[in-house]
Amino acid sequence: MKPVNHDGGQRLVARDDLDQLLGAITRRGFRLIGPAVRDGAIVYDDISSAADLPAGWTDEQDGGRYRLRRREDAALFGYTVGPQSWKKYLFPATSVIWRQDRSGAGAGPGTAAEPAEPEPPLAFIGVRPCDLHAIAIQDRVFLGGEHIDPVYAALREGAFLVAVNCGQAGGTCFCVSMDAGPRAESGFDLALTELMDGGRHRFLVEVGTRRGADVLGEVPSQPVGRADTEAAAHVTEQTAASMGRRLDTGGLKDLLYDNFDHPRWDTVAQRCLTCANCTMVCPTCFCFSVDEVTGLAGAPAGQQRSWDSCFTLDHSLLHGGPVRASSRSRYRQWMTHKLATWIDQFGTPGCVGCGRCITWCPAGIDITEEAAAIRAGAGDSAGAPGGHSGEGATRGGSRGNA
């Protein structure tokens, strides 16, 4: 095998040699997780080879709408994102976080639960740039503070990330607005750009880490020429130019802080079912509840962590009642957290523009449209009873080409 450059080195890998790449990863003991078609959607699941990938499939997405459609070509990564994100694996929906010592009630110090046997480390195949950013955002939440989450840390440590740059923008995508794509810049071991020009089907592979370079070194590959670089750049440029949605982030934090009583919150509250779909599909939402798992028939008591959502009434329960009782306040909490207070908490917005919340909202509520409506009617929320220029305005995120 030819020697390969580390950190930014690039090679071309033929589509048919992709299994060699996956094999090199598997040989290192990783469990491969990648996209697969199931139940009418592209989800993340265990895969064993390139044959498991959704070749020739793409998705059509809009507010409250997701359909798979056959492509005219055999692109392996010709879709955008499905309802799941990588938090399914890094931040599992339920985990045991503490178990009482087996030696009996009250004996011994309890510690965070260790896995029974060490699980194989995870390799994620096909991480979209928006999702790379989302992983980095959750890293900051679970690992970047004064305390760490041991379950997340164990799963995240050593996870091998193979990113895939986006060859098309989805109907609800706005990663460009959030500076989170459509090109992967960092945070990956390898990044692929699928090239299907000139009748060839190959991948331009960029190296992000030393172990990524080692893996690539075991795969047949060609040097990258200028035409190939340009082809890859063209792919992502064209994707960037065709975003399905747009979110104006200028002064967004202060805009939301200053418009806590904007009438738009009432408008969206009439549509929002507080079903929590958006928080489940969102790759950065991190709220979880800690519940007691009572010991039955001699089994030790323990604590379990499960996904929670600020849309539930229980989320803000205090002294027998919720602080945020109205659906209006809960929608506002979610959106203000995602786009504003997150910045004060963690230094960046919590949104990566993946569009999942728009696609999977049964009411088709669109976060970009809500933000634009608040911006349009901003300053009118100072108590004037109606007649706002922004009231009912559906001047929202632009659809189609940005």
């Binding site: 229980d314 329960l317 205090l318 002294h319 027998g320 009642g321």
Partner: protein, 157 residues
């Protein structure tokens, strides 16, 4: 010996009235003292004076059948005991008992009312102050009505 005017001037309730009005009020005023356990006024009796408290503590109480007297408010130095003289039917609503030795300036109700009739501006100034006082008592009562220290009845966890 302090004059009544001086004592009125040093009481926060009327102290900022112009000197002419203080002199007028002094004509309706006298110094009074109450030993602990004695009553400044009794529920139901004719209410004909107002007490500007200078020292001590007064409890506003109501006798409840089978429960003994309940204190609804205590008042201390710088405060005012007694509104009932101001408006019909001029009857005390509560008992007012001295809990500690009380020294106060008592203002005679009919005397003050007559002076207010003669000089409506004096009337307005006194009414304004009483309205402010009453609002404060109302806030205090409402806050207690909210029973904020009570236990919540739903058990979340």
């Amino acid at each position: 010996m302090e004059t009544l005017e001086h004592e009125l001037r040093s009481h926060p309730f009327v102290g900022d009235l112009e000197p002419a009005y203080l002199a007028l009020l002094a004509g309706c005023a006298e110094n009074v003292e109450f030993w602990p356990g004695t009553f400044l006024f009794r529920e139901g009796a004719p209410a004909d004076r107002c007490y500007l408290l200078r020292e001590g503590k007064v409890a506003l109480e109501i006798a409840a059948l089978g429960r003994g007297p309940l204190i609804v408010q205590t008042l201390g130095a710088g405060e005012v005991a007694g509104f009932s003289w101001l408006l019909e039917p001029h009857r005390w609503q509560f008992d007012g008992q001295a809990l500690e030795p009380v020294r106060a300036v008592a203002l005679d109700g009919p005397c003050v009312r007559a002076k207010c009739e003669q000089d409506p501006r004096l009337g307005f100034e006194l009414m304004r102050r009483f309205a402010h006082l009453a609002t404060g008592r109302l806030q205090s009562t409402r806050l207690r009505l909210l029973d904020v220290y009570g236990t919540s009845h739903a058990a979340p966890r």
